[in-house]
């Protein structure tokens, strides 16, 4: 299957996507931001649709809207009591906009399916390099910001007591999340990118006891999911995103069972 360039592209892209979303996901779960990750992917859908309308690459459109909105959503959602309502309002607006942009553009509805549910055929070598560069950028800044981010995500009260600059950290993390959502959506689609950001990290949270363990489990779970998903998609001709969703859910159920046994 590797003789096809689109499969090479898909494997290369998914590997970097799994690395990034696996690591970023650990912090998404620790910070209780799964819901926001979901919202950002809907916002990304609007961005991609807008990109189609004006004729720029969908990834650029997604980056633009997710980065801009992650900063404003972050501000709106600061107060926990308002968080759910604010986020719902924003996602409704952006899904609506996405539908409008698609309707206004002349592209066929199959293009909408691609944006929403992902595609492994549509991704070119140039797209792959852009995606890899973004992923490497995210991973590099995370190496530098790791300790602060870890402290703030896993013990916000302690981080505050130690005088960490938590506002800066949280903006930084929202930016990283926006980029991760945008690149993840290239393979699994904006509708399901939150799978890769939340399920592998949930598995890691159930099974890992240290941060390096959690990161390893999360990245491993994400990698197995995308690789196996691509393989099964290739063999059966069914949607890759379907397989990734099923595999990640299976991992989650197994982890949950193990966790429940341990607690008994």
């Amino acid at each position: 299957m590797f003789e096809y360039e689109f499969m090479q592209n898909a494997f290369l892209a998914s590997t970097f996507i799994a690395l990034t979303t696996g690591i970023v996901g650990v912090f998404v779960t620790a910070r209780g931001m799964s819901f926001l990750a979901h919202t950002l992917s809907e916002i990304g859908f609007a961005g991609a649709a807008f990109a189609v309308l004006v004729g720029i690459p969908p990834l650029d459109g997604m980056l633009l809207t997710t980065i801009l909105s992650s900063l404003s959503v972050g501000r709106l959602a600061v107060r926990p009591g308002r968080r759910e309502a604010s986020i719902s309002a924003i996602s409704s607006l952006f899904i609506g906009l996405g539908i409008l942009f698609l309707a206004l553009s002349s592209k066929s509805s199959s293009y909408a399916t691609t944006i929403l549910f992902g595609s492994i055929i549509g991704i070119s070598r140039a797209d792959v390099w852009q995606l890899v560069a973004l992923a490497v950028g995210v991973l590099l800044t995370m190496t530098i910001g790791y300790r602060g981010l870890a402290f703030d995500s896993f013990d916000p009260v302690g981080a505050q007591a130690q005088g960490l600059r938590r506002n800066l950290l949280s903006i930084y993390f929202l930016l990283i999340l926006a980029i991760s959502v945008s690149i993840g959506a290239q393979i699994v689609g904006s509708m399901l990118v939150f799978i890769l950001l939340t399920l592998p990290s949930a598995v890691a949270q159930y099974l890992g006891k240290t941060l390096p363990q959690m990161i390893a489990i999360s990245v491993g779970t994400a990698l197995v999911g995308v690789w196996l998903g691509l393989f099964l998609g290739y063999v059966t001709n069914w949607p890759v995103t379907f397989f990734i969703a099923v595999i990640e859910c299976a991992f989650y159920l197994v982890a949950l069972t193990i966790r429940n046994r341990r607690e008994r």
């Binding site: 300790r147 602060g148 302690g158 007591a161 130690q162 949270q205 006891k209 959690m214």
Partner: protein
């Protein structure tokens, strides 16, 4: 009397039209163990924030000795049973000395030393979420101790613990005080603990304050809600 490590002079702090502390002045000697007591709303936590520099006094000043290294154990943390990290990993979060994600040998040794000192070494791989209240509180303490402070503020550290665990934790704090000359400011509602485990108390009231030896404490004269009989557990 040893040199003061912290001196508060004519302190006033006003917010939202209210004024806390009228001309509050006191100093704490290096190596002293002081409880900070007072009814809810007199400004105990605010005072700790002023000492830590998170708030600025409206009037007066707070003078810190040059050698002062502050550590703070916060009042409340929301650690649920699902919380994943082990005691050791939780304590190590406060290691902010380097940029790189992985810990150096010295950093690992420092975590081990602090776990040993707080009696958590044998339970270091236990998950914090499933740990007992006492273990959790010791882990909070250990995390604050990781930066090797010589002045430790404990904010209501014993509030949610049973009597035995309270005693155990305060015994540990006293040991640290004796071994390292750690200055302790212990914010509490619990007059019994203040009497047994601290040398002096700073009582804040709506109208003033007093700083006295705990031997001279007259419980009957204390504000109503602080008296031991009020504490039903």
């Amino acid at each position: 009397m040893p040199e003061p490590i912290l001196t508060v002079e004519h302190l006033t702090f006003g917010f939202r039209g209210r004024q806390l502390y009228h001309d509050l002045s006191f100093s704490l000697a290096a190596g002293s163990v002081t409880s900070l007591i007072g009814a809810n709303g007199v400004g105990k936590t605010t005072l700790t924030k002023l000492i830590m520099g998170q708030l600025t006094p409206t009037a007066g000043r707070i003078i810190k000795a040059p050698q002062l290294r502050l550590g703070y154990v916060p009042q409340f943390r929301n650690i649920d049973p699902e919380y994943p990290l082990s005691l050791r990993s939780f304590v190590a979060l406060n290691q902010m000395g380097r940029r790189l994600p992985w810990h150096s040998k010295q950093e690992k040794a420092a975590v081990t030393a602090v776990l040993k000192e707080t009696g958590l070494l044998e339970r270091q791989h236990q998950s914090l979420g499933m740990a007992s209240g006492g273990e959790k509180q010791k882990a909070y303490l250990a995390q604050a101790l990781l930066t090797r402070p010589n002045f430790l503020i404990l904010d209501e550290a014993t509030a949610s613990l049973d009597v035995n665990t309270k005693t155990e934790l305060m015994t540990l704090v006293n040991q640290l005080n004796q071994k390292h000359g750690l200055t302790v400011l212990f914010v509490t509602h619990d007059l019994d603990l203040a009497k047994s485990f601290t040398q002096q108390y700073l009582l804040l009231t709506q109208t003033g304050y007093e700083l006295r030896s705990t031997d001279e404490m007259n419980e009957a004269a204390m504000p109503k809600e602080l008296r031991p009989t009020q504490e039903v557990r």
